[in-house]
Point group: C2
């Protein structure tokens, strides 16, 4: 069964997209099959993998609004083992029109379960009889990881991702507004656990750290003191090679494999693979 | 008549809030009366001025949803001449519930016109008879500038700000995703000019520039080449004193007046005051 990872934070510019592309890339170097899903109307993840959001035919909008399957809109990227469900500007309407649908917050989870976790849906009580749906449900590709890149807004789209996820990664820049956003995210996690997804686990990931900066060091220490186990051991420091890789349209390890960014996201991938979620 | 300035960009983390607080502070040092409005559920502008969003009684939500007046929810800050309409987490519901109201995109403009521009509304055809509303409309405080801090999302709230604004400032980090976001913003500006606000003027403001970084210098040059007059002469460089001022709850010139950040935002204020919009 694939592990579903949501990368979310209401705070803007904390490296949600950079983490999704980099972690996805790192996991494929260990032979894992990874599906990345762009849930942001900015479509930065689509850009970061070398695609033009303006020329995308099928996208996540078709999955959320027109019951298209994930597999029908997913595309291969330049990286073997790394597929992408792209986004386009149409996602901006999702915040307004998604909430009118019944059970709108579980659309993504149901799609993933139906398509990519056939065995899980059979185990669930009251599920479809094994015989009839087995052929339809059998996934073409067995993904090990599905990673969801969220917009900087706690609305219907991000809620869908939190309900679908096994693990929530909270990229956090060691700065005042970003650290404050963790408070709101904790409230949201509590609500999602109570209402739709009791098993949701979260981990804070410190990103864009500049070790020379006093405020960064202070807030880094505060976050570890407050969250303890809830923070990844791995820290992502500022590395301009990560900016370059976005322009190149490739995950960092396929742009500069020995850069600090590539090595740190590789360490993150190892930390995630080691842990049994 | 107050000049209404919207500070918006779909891209997250490009210094929208930092620009709102810093520009507002700089304008008061020239004796201007300034009203800042926090339109973001993150309520970072409220935090940046030393207030706790969790303990705010009246907020922008009351104005948008319960026809409260701006003046009834505005509060003085620690800076003379700088008032704030705070936000709180309730703003997160605005994207979902604002669009059901008739003419939802003009709520903010109508509130500002009724309350803070009494003379303008008399000039408009078919407006209320001068006598009856003159007493009610006469503003308590004559603001010179109203500055609107927007969330990193192009929805109903940011649309309200663009419809109400005379000038739109687009803070832009000289990086790939941020530069790409300008394309979307231009489309939105065209639509707003065609539908609701033909006189809307925009200016790009380069923020968080690191002169030592090659990509930053390249993208800075590209933005000037593409937008020419549409970019402010003033550039805001990275300055950690701006991070400190957010923690202190004061605009930068009231935290470290001789810092690079304070001087650059002062230059921006001068550039805005010189220009006749
Ligand atoms: N470790 C890093 N070192 C240097 N630059 C980085 C690093 N991580 C991300 N960046 C850059 O910082 C900017 C913000 O990162 P990114 O766009 O991934 O954040 P985000 O949280 O996805 O933003 P948004 O809230 O707009 O979706 C980008 O220009 C990105 O290239
Ligand atoms: N010139 C600067 N130098 C150093 N740090 C800065 C500068 N401008 C902003 N910052 C810091 O960068 C981060 C992003 O800025 P800010 O929060 O103002 O952006 P924003 O566009 O309002 O973000 P959001 O999209 O989440 O609303 C903040 O931590 C802020 O303190
Ligand atoms: Mg992003
Ligand atoms: Mg902000």
């Amino acid at each position: 069964n694939p592990l579903v990872i949501a990368i979310a934070n209401q705070k803007g510019g904390v490296a949600k997209t950079t983490t999704t592309a980099s972690l996805g890339g790192a996991l494929t170097t260990y032979g894992k099959e990874v599906l990345l899903v762009d849930l942001d109307p900015q479509a930065n993840l689509t850009l970061a993998l070398g695609r033009d959001p303006g020329r995308v035919r099928g996208s996540i909008t078709d999955v959320l609004f027109h019951s298209a399957s994930l597999l029908s809109v997913s595309r291969e990227t330049s990286v073997p083992g790394l597929d992408l469900v792209p986004a386009n500007a149409g996602m901006a309407l999702a915040e307004r029109f998604l909430p009118v649908r019944k059970d709108y917050e579980t659309i993504l989870r149901r799609t993933i379960t139906d398509e990519l976790r056939p065995f899980a849906s059979e185990a669930a009580p009251g599920s479809k009889p094994a015989g009839s749906s087995f052929e339809k449900n059998f996934p073409v590709i067995e993904y090990n990881y599905i990673i969801l890149d969220c917009p900087p807004f706690l609305g219907a789209v991000t809620l869908n991702a939190l309900v679908a996820a096994d693990l929530l990664i909270l990229p956090t820049q060691p700065e005042f507004f970003s650290a404050h956003a963790l408070r709101t995210m904790m409230t949201t996690i509590r609500q999602v656990r109570q209402n739709q997804n009791p098993k949701l686990i979260f981990r804070v990931l410190i990103t864009l750290l500049d070790k020379r900066n006093r405020i960064h060091r202070q807030i880094h220490d505060q976050i570890y003191k407050t969250f303890g186990e809830g923070v990844f051991q791995t820290i992502i420091e500022v590395d301009t090679k990560l900016r370059e890789s976005a322009i190149e349209g490739k995950p960092i390890m396929f742009h500069k494999a020995q850069s600090r960014g590539a090595l740190q996201y590789d360490a993150l991938a190892q930390e995630i693979m080691r842990y049994v979620w």
